[in-house]
């Protein structure tokens, strides 16, 4: 080493005093000893420099020297002192930043001194020194690192001139100085550290106090800790605290004086949470050890960190890092990390120790605050929980009181309103069949909003159905989020901006959903989600419960209903048992039945005998026009009541609308009713329909299976009762009919008078069989005679007679009695319709009168007598009795008519017999009279002859006259007896003709000649066109005929006049006529004129004798000759009898 003259840059007393001893060993020793003594006493770096540098100049003959030291106060090297070095050169040597490459800095990294032997050498390595060195005399340099225990504490730089010659002792001296300086520096450092420790203890105390003063708010404490630690230690201070999960760390607080850096670091670190099992945290937290990274290689740092950190590091390159655990006795809270950046001095072990202390205190404060915060939050949580619990208890209590699903829904709706404010909501329930989500309760929606969602099939991809299917809630923060998942809703008019759709789940089953819509986009934090789900659970549980309650309630209601109905059915049965008549049964059915069914209206019909009509037995609870209209219903009408009978099955209609939809004919009637539901039950007896019962219900009914069963059971009861009543009625009717017939028979035979019997017939029928009964008998003029009539109302009886008088019935009428008399078949009109009246009426006036009768039902039966129809019996039921005839009644009427026929026939026969007797008596009387007349003359003459003989007064003339009279009278008697005998023969069939061919003209002439002499008042004229008219016949009988006719002509023209006998021949017959101008014969007598014993009224009145057998005999004789006899006559003008006799075959 070359020795150079050292020129001290700063002269000092010490320096100047030691200069003289420079070249001697003793002086070196002295200098060294002084220096070392001085160095032991120094208390700062300047003092070390003051002691060291002069020694360097003196001993080493150096031209200049400087001492730079590493301090804890500043990063890099700090100039402790310089000797004989220009300031420009000092500036050039000292680093601008701690890391700038200067020989000083570089030397600090070296273990040994570094020599630069020439100016060119050093400038070559550090060009920045060129200018400063150019104007200096310094040629050679040595930079010596001052180390203790290999820790570099400073650099001693010594400069030599060109002239300096390195002496052999110089390196040793340099080393010695080096050691002395290093020790001094180390001692000074220890001193500083000791001082620092004291200061740090104070600081720690202060820090603890400040931490404590930060209060109990964790956030404030953390702010205070980071800020204070940053101030005390230097660099950014970050506190990361352990998450409750024990796995993650979260950044709790961060401080750096540069707020921009702090904000950047905050964002970075919060965005990238750290786990405890990665990076530095492993050592710090798991092992509880501090980590000190004095200097950090940027490249390896970047490589070790996620790319997210790179930009930040680009801007704020971390150069040193110190991290310590935050520990308390109860455990580790987290970690506190200090970072320094490029240009700042790295953290030292010292910092580490200090930080550990600080961290312990900070941890305590944090733990306290934490505890407090925990306590506070626990309290808040407890309070919140209490409030929450209170509210939820309220909810639970409220829903617990809810008895029906609707009440639950209303409460939930109310709670939702309280909890989430102006949200709109829907509660949907899954239908029983599990296919559809049905919206049952809404909050804040108009019906129009929900039209599309009212029933949501569960197999669709909609939020509601998805929630039901998955059982998982959906929370949608915005329409965008919702539409992203459900694109089809993009088109929907969404009423809300955010949604929470929570399943109503209970016992693993999803009952439905609670869907809430919010007017603004929003997030749903876990608490809120939890709350809503809780709400939904409550709702679901309550729903479940109420649904079960409802089921139970329904079951109970059903049971009660069944019990009630059973009771009513029993009551009905009991009532029905005691109801014996159809009307009683009807009354019971419509009253008890309606009560049992809670029906508002009821009808009961029975089927008419012809099975074509339903006939009302009772119609109750319907408006009057309907009652009237529904008296009869055609069975083929398309109405449900008829359908029930047709199919033999009940017909139910839950609603009036469905009834009208199925049966449009019912629309006008339904329009008059308030009733909503209808049931029509056929009444079946022995499996055949006998009627139908209909019930109407004002409150709508849903006819459940049970209800239907009940109705059917009720109908069965009714059917039985009605059937029984019908049978009873039929039996009773049969009995009544028998009684009636029996009485009728008695009554009918009470009189043998025909007219009285007719009257009796009608009287018997009214009122028992009819309100109006008429017997009509055909008359000869083609009219019907109203032979007898009876009416329950006497006034109407007269009125009915007048009606018939004004509107006579003719036999050709196609209705009623004429039809019956013509056909012999009964007519039965169970119901007399207005159409029938129109058909029957001949004019509007008659129709009006017929309508006034009030026809309701009618039977017309023929009256027969020995297979001959003699008339018709009409039984008419009017609105007076309202009675409706049945076929039973027809049978009765027929039987009655048969008896009437017999009675009438008997009456007629009796009358005829009576008449016959009378005729016979009359005949006998007449015959006796007729016989007595000739007998009187005969007897008188005989006695006269006797008397004259006795008296001797007899003369031959007198005797001859008497004998003539006697003979004449005997002949008369003989003729009479002969005629009577003829009658007997005719009746006995013993009348024999003795035929021969005879000339009729001659025969008639003979009779005329015989008769003519006896006539005094009559002129007998015989006219005959031919002299011969031959025929085969009995001449005596034919004479008898002509005698009779001529004698009659004379006899019945008592005033005398012409009697003309005329005979002429026609084609095959001889025509003989006898005409007179006498009394004539009344028209009414003509038909009977040729009857035996008949005498016309007028001849009796004229006391013209006769027995009423002459014409009878005439007819018999003529008939037996194959001829005919006719009469034409005008009363008081005369008669002509014409006899037609067949000619003899020869003619």
């Amino acid at each position: 080493m070359r020795h150079t003259t050292l020129v001290p840059s700063a002269t000092s007393e010490t320096g100047s005093t030691s200069q003289g001893q420079a070249h001697t060993a003793s002086s070196w020793a002295s200098v060294l000893e002084t220096a070392s003594r001085q160095l032991l006493a120094v208390s700062d770096h300047a003092a070390i420099a003051g002691a060291l540098l002069p020694a360097c100049l003196n001993i080493l003959h150096a031209a200049g020297a400087l001492l730079a030291v590493v301090t804890s106060e500043q990063p890099g090297l700090v100039l402790a002192g310089a000797a004989a070095l220009p300031s420009a050169l000092l500036l050039a040597l000292l680093p601008v930043t701690p890391l700038d490459p200067t020989p000083l800095v570089d030397a600090l990294q070296q273990s040994d001194a570094r020599w630069f032997d020439s100016r060119e050498h050093i400038v070559g390595a550090y060009p920045q020194l060129a200018t400063a060195l150019k104007e200096s005399e310094f040629e050679r340099w040595v930079f010596v690192p001052l180390r203790v225990d290999s820790v570099a504490l400073g650099i001693l730089a010594v400069a030599f001139t060109q002239s300096h010659s390195m002496q052999p002792e110089h390196p040793v001296l340099l080393s010695t100085l080096n050691v002395l300086a290093a020790q001094a520096l180390a001692r000074l450092q220890h001193l500083t550290i000791t001082r620092q420790h004291v200061a740090r203890i104070q600081t720690l105390t202060e820090a603890s106090q400040s931490f404590g003063q930060a209060g109990q708010d964790l956030e404030t404490v953390l702010q205070q800790v980071t800020r204070r630690v940053s101030e005390l230690v230097g660099g950014a201070c970050a506190v990361r605290l352990l998450e409750p999960d024990g796995l993650h760390l979260h950044l709790a607080a961060l401080y750096h004086p540069d707020s921009e850096l702090a904000a950047g670091a905050w964002d970075l670190l919060t965005a990238n949470p750290q786990r405890i099992d990665e990076g530095l945290a492993v050592a710090v937290l798991t092992r509880g050890e501090p980590v000190l990274l004095t200097t950090i290689d940027q490249a390896s740092l970047r490589a070790g960190l996620r790319p997210a950190f790179h930009a930040h590091l680009e801007r704020w390159p971390i150069s040193s890092l110190l991290t310590v655990p935050l520990r308390t006795r109860s455990g580790t809270l987290g970690m506190l990390t200090m970072t320094r950046y490029a240009g700042e001095i790295p953290y030292t072990l010292d910092d580490q120790l200090f930080l550990v202390e600080l961290a312990d205190r900070a941890a305590l404060a944090i733990a306290n605050a934490h505890l407090f915060a925990s306590a506070m939050s626990a309290r808040t949580a407890a309070e919140q929980a209490a409030a929450h619990t209170l509210r939820l208890q309220g909810l639970t209590a409220a829903v617990a009181e809810a008895l029906t699903p609707d009440e639950v829904l209303a409460i939930i709706a109310d709670q939702v309103k309280q909890l989430v404010g102006n949200a709109s909501g829907i509660i949907g329930l899954v239908t029983d069949d599990g296919t559809v989500l049905e919206m049952v309760q809404t909050i804040g929606y108009t019906p129009g909003d929900l039209r599309l969602w009212q029933r949501l099939p569960l197999d669709t991809a909609q939020p509601g159905s998805d929630v039901v299917r998955s059982g998982a809630a959906q929370f949608w923060e915005s329409p965008t989020a919702l539409v992203a998942r459900y694109p089809q809703l993009a088109q929907a008019a969404l009423k809300s901006e955010a949604w929470a759709i929570v399943p109503l789940r209970v016992e693993g089953r999803t009952l439905g959903i609670l869907s809430l819509g919010f007017p603004q986009p929003r997030t749903f934090d876990p608490d809120e989600q939890g709350l809503l789900e809780f709400l939904a659970r409550q709702c679901a549980t309550a729903m479940q419960r109420t649904l079960r309650f409802r089921e139970v309630e329904q079951a109970r209601t059903l049971a009660e209903q069944v019990a009630r109905r059973t009771a009513r059915l029993y009551a009905l049965s009991t009532a029905l048992v005691s109801a014996r008549t159809i009307s009683q049964v009807t009354e019971v059915i419509v009253s008890e039945g309606m009560a049992a069914l809670e029906a508002t209206a009821g009808t009961i019909y029975q089927i008419s005998e012809d099975a074509r009509t339903l006939v009302a037995l009772g119609v109750v609870g319907y408006p009057e026009p309907l009652v009237e209209r529904w008296q009869t219903i055609p069975l083929d009408l398309a109405v449900p009541i008829a359908e029930a009978v047709r199919v033999g099955e009940p017909v139910f209609a839950d609603s009036a609308a469905s009834l009208v939809a199925h049966w449009p004919l019912t629309a006008p009637a339904i329009a008059l009713l308030d009733d909503q539901s209808f049931a029509f039950m056929p009444l079946l007896a022995r499996e055949k329909p006998i009627g139908v019962a209909g019930f109407a219900f004002a409150p709508p009914r849903n006819f459940s299976a049970e209800e239907r069963e009940f109705l059917v059971a009720l109908a069965a009861q009714c059917s039985q009762a009605l059937d029984r009543a019908r049978l009873l009625a039929a039996e009773q009717r049969a009995r009544e009919h028998l009684a009636f017939l029996s009485e009728a028979s008695t009554q009918l035979i009470a009189s043998l008078d025909y007219d009285e019997t007719l009257r009796q017939i009608t009287r018997l029928c009214v009122p028992r069989l009819a309100d109006w009964c008429a017997v009509e008998i055909p008359t000869s003029g083609g009219y019907l005679e109203l032979a007898a009539i009876a009416h329950i109302d006497l006034a109407k009886e007269q009125w009915a007679r007048e009606l018939r008088e004004h509107h006579p019935a003719t036999m050709d009428m196609p209705v009623g009695s004429p039809l019956v008399i013509r056909s012999g078949e009964p007519l039965f009109y169970p119901v007399v319709s207005d159409e029938m009246l129109q058909q029957a009426a001949s004019d509007p006036e008659e129709l009006r009168l017929l309508r006034l009768v009030g026809y309701r039902s009618m039977i017309v039966v023929p009256l027969r007598a020995r297979e001959r129809i003699i008339g018709a019996l009409g039984l008419i039921s009017t609105t007076d009795s309202g009675r409706r005839y049945s076929t039973d009644d027809v049978a009765l009427a027929e039987e009655f008519a048969r008896r009437c026929g017999v009675a009438l026939d008997n009456a007629r026969l009796y009358q005829e017999a009576q008449e016959a007797i009378q005729v016979r008596n009359q005949f006998l009387s007449i015959a006796a009279h007729e016989l007595k007349t000739p007998l009187t003359a005969l007897s008188g003459q005989t006695q006269l002859v006797q008397r004259r003989l006795n008296r001797g007064e007899q003369t031959p003339e007198r005797l001859a006259r008497s004998l003539a009279i006697i003979e004449q009278q005997a002949e008369r008697l003989d003729a009479m007896v002969g005629t009577l005998l003829d009658v007997g023969r005719l009746e006995r069939g013993q009348f024999v003709l003795e035929q021969e061919t005879l000339n009729l003209v001659e025969l008639v002439g003979r009779v005329v000649d015989e008769v003519r002499p006896d006539l005094d008042r009559h002129t007998l004229i015989y006219e005959h066109a031919a002299d011969h008219i031959l025929m085969n016949g009995d001449p005596l009988r034919l004479e008898q005929v002509i005698h009779n006719l001529v004698n009659n002509a004379v006899k019945y023209s008592p005033a005398g006049g012409e009697v003309v006998v005329r005979i002429e021949r026609q084609a095959e017959a001889a025509l003989l006529s006898v005409s007179d101008k006498g009394l004539g014969i009344p028209t009414g007598a003509l038909p009977q004129l040729f009857q035996r014993f008949y005498r016309a009224d007028n001849v009796a009145a004229h006391h013209i004798s006769g027995m009423g057998i002459g014409l009878y005999v005439v007819r018999e004789i003529v008939t037996r000759h194959g001829g005919t006899v006719d009469v034409t006559s005008t009363e008081d003008a005369g008669s002509t009898f014409t006899v037609r006799l067949p000619l003899a075959m020869t003619e």
Partner: protein, 130 residues
């Protein structure tokens, strides 16, 4: 047409009118009465009888019941109307002669056929009573 009885008898005794429609009876009764000396007037019906009453003013009428033109009752009523007080003997073959006779207020009834004695007894009785 009246059959005049024996005119001589009529002069000595009472005039009797016989009315009957049967000529044989009329003649027989007239002969019987004439034989007894009565004057007899005959008529064949009520009308003729009334004419005979006017003409002959009989003291007694023998009246038949059934006659044409005007019967016995009709004649009686007409006779009563004239209040002549001529007694009547009812004469009939009818079985109900008695009631009819009472109806006429007849002084006697002569059922046909009759005995001569009965006829003459009745006539004598009737005329004797006057």
């Amino acid at each position: 047409m009246a059959h005049e009885a024996d005119q001589s008898a009529a002069l000595t005794s009472a005039q009797i009118l016989v009315i009957d429609d049967d000529p044989a009876i009329l003649e027989t009764v007239a002969d019987i009465l004439s034989d007894e000396g009565y004057r007899v007037v005959t008529a064949r019906n009520g009308v003729e009888g009334l004419a005979a009453v006017e003409r002959a003013q009989p003291a007694l009428v023998l009246l038949d019941r059934w006659m044409p033109v005007l019967d016995g009752l009709g004649f009686f009523q007409e006779l009563q109307r004239r209040a002549l007080g001529i007694p009547i003997i009812a004469m009939t073959a009818a079985h109900d002669a008695e009631p009819w006779a009472r109806q006429l207020g007849a002084v006697g009834v002569l059922p046909k056929p009759f005995k001569l004695s009965a006829l003459l007894g009745l006539v004598a009785g009737a005329l004797g009573g006057t």
